[in-house]
Symmetry: C2
């Protein structure tokens, strides 16, 4: 028997049950018109998933139920699986509010299936993620808690749902679970279902894109399908959702695994809103279908796709059509401009160069060249006059002591005037220019700068969106090459921008024409900083110093061998550098990130809601202090 199944890889608009249910009804019509037996929609298809505390609005919950009813009513001639919030208005969650579940609904002939051996006419998510950007236990009641309340085990509550398709009884193994991180999240329900006899598994998901995620998910799910000898259908959404500080793209990548665990369908391109249809032979377990190729999703091409898609969806979500980008002639703003020019029409971009006395002719020319290459609107707004006026005004104003009547004058140091320049560019010029141009201005910070707060608050750290702030500097360079070679097929980012030493050009000590630049040595610090913030085995100075002593630091953090000896002539230099950046990362860096723009996430650990931080003091462990003492006593 062949079943025709439609995969509704829809764009979910978070917080818009009205629009999402419309999208679903349209897809249901299409699937029905093509004689599909079933259409499957992603997790939280109606409300969206990342909504913050909107989950606490009872009117919103009623609204989601109401739009869910519309979907159920459309199931007369087709089985519809969809994710929605389910509310038990009679029961409370742990926080004393109305109890909510992250639920999977199975609708047919206008009513719900799924209640056998289960207290509700829907299924709920097995394990709730409370890591990275997820706060599921904050909002939803878990299967674990429900089982405990019913004095059963979670396994007792996991069972197939029997539906009639093409005249035959089919046991669906319906799953709502995490797809990539803790293996338990996906294997636990699959294992529980396997014992109970399942025709095929269906896993609906709402899983944000991060580098390499799908490849990992495929390994786990392929193994599960093969072990159970049962095909598995995975449906994920596309679109963009955020947690305030951190913005996620959703890439879709819906997949079908046959009973051998081979991928026999893989939705591509990534990030495409579409309804795909598929014939599943229940007898063979899709065995007869040829495996398809699955792209690697941990390379620069996926970063490019995610960022361009993300910029498009984010600007359109907030109703922004035009963007102003401050371009310095350096690599970060050039790559940002290259991305925005692809995401939006170049005519909607205004590039602004804002030189001071410290900016070289070299970078001023490179900036102009970039604007010409991209075909964007361009203007030059120098800052020196305003910066001089500010210094003069502040140093000239008498500060009065009311007790004594005495007046004194404030004095600005060179370091302070560096920050005055940065703020003059962003807060005085770019913010006003963006308003006049009818849009926002971008923040072009990279992840290395963001890690150690090498930026000025209300200056180069400002903007409506930090599109490349989850990229290390080496990824920014990779992206520059990718833009020239694979996207534009010409040198839109002038080679001079790629070759020049990275420099903020805020003083004569950073003169690029003399080869002077930033204090960050990216070839080493990119990797050191990455080890501080990565998903696994976050390092601290204790670990770094131990590896330095053992001699395996470069291997541990993944930078080029031999680099440490090259950069540091002795142990004291090494320790001073380590402490300098650790102090910055856990000190002022945190304070700056609290006020940073939202960051477009591509890594497993973007700053913001994924990597949570308290503004506490800098700390070195007891063991670090011992190791340091031993090393310096040597």
């Amino acid at each position: 028997m062949k079943l025709k199944i439609a995969l509704g890889q829809m764009e979910i608009i978070p917080g818009r049950p009205d629009l999402n249910s419309q999208t679903m009804l349209k897809m249901i019509d299409e699937a029905q018109a093509a004689d599909c037996h079933m259409v499957i929609f992603p997790e939280m298809a109606i409300p969206g998933y990342l909504l913050g505390d909107t989950w606490e609005q009872e009117a919103f919950l009623r609204d989601c139920e109401s739009y869910g009813q519309d979907i159920i009513a459309a199931s007369n001639h087709i089985i519809i699986l969809f994710g929605n919030v389910a509310v038990d208005w009679e029961k409370k969650g742990d926080d004393g509010r109305i109890r909510k579940y992250n639920a999977l609904f199975i609708a047919h002939n206008g009513s719900l299936l799924g209640g056998d051996n289960f207290p509700y006419p829907f299924r709920i998510k097995t394990l709730l993620p409370n890591y990275r950007e997820f706060d599921d236990d904050r909002h939803f009641f878990s299967l674990r808690k429900l089982a405990q309340e019913l004095q059963q085990t979670p396994e007792d509550l996991i069972s197939p749902v029997t539906v009639t398709m093409a005249g035959e009884a089919i046991n669906l193994g319906c799953i709502l679970c995490e797809d990539g991180w803790g293996e338990d999240y996906s294997t636990q329900p699959i294992t529980a279902l396997q014992k109970k006899g399942v025709t095929f598994y269906i896993n609906i998901s709402s899983s944000p894109f991060t580098l390499g995620k799908n490849n990992k998910r495929n390994r786990i799910f392929a193994k599960q399908a093969a072990t159970a000898q049962v095909p598995l259908i995975y449906v994920n959404n596309v679109g963009l959702q955020n947690n305030g500080k951190t913005i996620y793209t959703f890439d879709g990548a819906s997949t079908i695994y046959n009973k051998k665990g081979q991928v026999v369908y893989y939705s591509h391109p990534a990030f495409a809103h579409k309804l795909d249809m598929f014939e599943l032979d229940v007898a063979t377990g899709a065995d007869e279908l040829a495996p398809v190729e699955v792209p690697r999703d941990d390379q620069i091409d996926f970063i490019y796709q995610a960022l361009v898609y993300g910029i498009q969806k984010f600007t359109s979500a907030i109703g922004m059509k035009k963007v102003v980008i401050g371009i310095s002639g350096g690599i970060d703003s050039a790559v940002a401009a290259g991305l925005y020019a692809k995401a939006l029409n170049p005519a909607n971009l205004l590039l602004v160069n804002m030189p001071s006395q410290y900016n070289s002719e070299t970078t001023k020319n490179l900036a102009r060249q970039l604007a010409e290459n991209l075909g964007c609107l361009y203007t030059v707004l120098p800052i020196q006059q305003s910066v001089d006026f500010t210094i003069q005004q502040i140093e000239g104003a008498p500060v009065i002591n009311p007790e004594t009547g005495a007046a004194y004058h404030l004095k600005l140091t060179p370091f302070m005037t560096e920050n005055i320049q940065a703020r003059d560019r962003s807060s005085r010029i770019l913010a006003a220019v963006a308003a006049a141009f009818g849009g926002g201005f971008s923040c072009n910070a990279n992840k290395a700068e963001t890690t150690v707060g090498y930026s000025t608050l209300y200056g180069d750290q400002a903007g409506f969106l930090a599109a490349i702030a989850d990229l290390w500097k080496y990824q920014v360079y990779q992206l520059a090459h990718y833009l020239n070679q694979e996207v534009y097929h010409r040198e839109v980012i002038p080679q001079g921008i790629i070759d020049i030493v990275p420099s903020a050009e805020l003083s004569f000590d950073q003169a690029v024409d003399e080869g002077k630049g930033d204090p960050i040595q990216y070839a080493y610090h990119d990797y050191l900083f990455r080890s501080f913030v990565q998903w696994w085995n976050k390092s601290t100075p204790e670990d770094i110093l131990q590896w330095y002593i053992t001699g395996n630091l470069e291997e541990k953090i993944g930078c080029q061998p031999g680099l440490v000896k090259q950069l540091f002539t002795n142990d004291i230099d090494f320790i001073q550098d380590l402490e300098r950046w650790w102090n910055q990362f856990t000190g002022i860096g945190v304070a700056k990130r609290i006020q940073s723009p939202p960051i477009m996430a591509v890594s497993r650990r973007a700053f913001g809601f994924d990597h949570r931080e308290a503004q506490n003091g800098v700390y070195y462990t007891r063991r670090y202090r011992e190791l340091k003492e031993q090393l310096l006593d040597k």
Copy 2:
């Protein structure tokens, strides 16, 4: 038998096991010197509680264990109860990381008690909070999960710990639980313990101050103690901890309830770091002690205490000694200045007035008067010249279209120049002045403005700390009166500032001398906005409109009766106002809050980490749209 017990209501420095263990060792010495049988420290006394993802640093966890060992080693002649993170290095948590518990350790004679009927030599928190500012399930493995793993119930794992005190066996009911929110959090372990025979309960906590919290906790705990006929000792810490966006003070308020449920000891003043000692007669259940008075903690005096304490602790935690405050002659900046002047020495404050052509002589004089009254350093830095220059520069610069070579000019509207003024003040002047003065500058926004984004990003919304951004405007006025009457005992905040109409003075439309001001009508909007963000029964336009139709809106949101009729002449006006502010609150307001400074929390729902938000679009439910249509069709 009388037991002498010391309550270690210590200041915990989050992320500093070294300093916290030193504090504890000192208190242990004092308690021993006074012949105490036992000393009790708060939850997470060694690491601190709000640490973000520092919990993922294995070096930090080892460090906490190491300092915990120092405390255990100090227990030779005294029983020590303390909170610390406990690590099971052999087991994993749900996220695949090393498993951690929020644990209570009971140390005596250099080793740990507490293992009977429990798989570890410590006790763990019963229910983990995942609401408001808490993310416990993100970091810690719960008793519920542990019980499930061991195929037992949580109740099985909750049992008294028997210790020998003064030669007698005492059954301690040791509890680590929430103290105020969901009643289950505190009642569940108490009820479970009650069945197993307990001499007295000990509840160690790390509970942030919010208005009215202790009064609620006292009602719950008093009932529990009385029901069980067993005394209860509650120990909480003082100090300041934060989650990045939201800053919490901890007020201590350690309490002893006798077996009748009467409060027989209440630590005061609030926020005091101290070691108190107490004699507990086991035979009587502290029955013979006289009940003591417990202050109300939901009034303006507690807001004042929390904010002054919070400013002191936060500035000292980040090493800031001096603060610059922009004072406009309005109420918010005046109250902020009054608070900072109490928290820091007035000599460490520099007040800056930054008039434009729109600022009246009235407010300029009031600002100067305020500075004189407070005895703070004062300066005037006008912005008109710089604002004019910015407008001229931007409107004068040709924007080049590279395709055509054509140039055009940007045009700034009056609304845009309002924001230019605000940014000129904060980003151009205050940030530079603060650097030169050697400190930071304050953000003086109140909660009503913050709710609807009535502020300029990088302008009046900027600063190192938003100390009064969790106060509604009516609370700002209450605080102004409290400062004059109860704190300074003179009119430091000039009456003119209290009487003047609230106005940003950014255009002639906001001329205070003509009685013109802000578009927010605080007498109504304070309460409307509060109903959008409060802890319970968050309202949405659907609810508001329903109440408006029913006629119980004022009662529901708590504003003055009759106000709605006074402000809105018809239904259309009412709806336009409602939608205007809902659009602002859920639209641009969210974008602004993402980049706002950290907020000092006093309410049950401060913006930031307590009230989590996604930057999604503005939404009106189906039911709202129906109600609106019905009303307008009428």
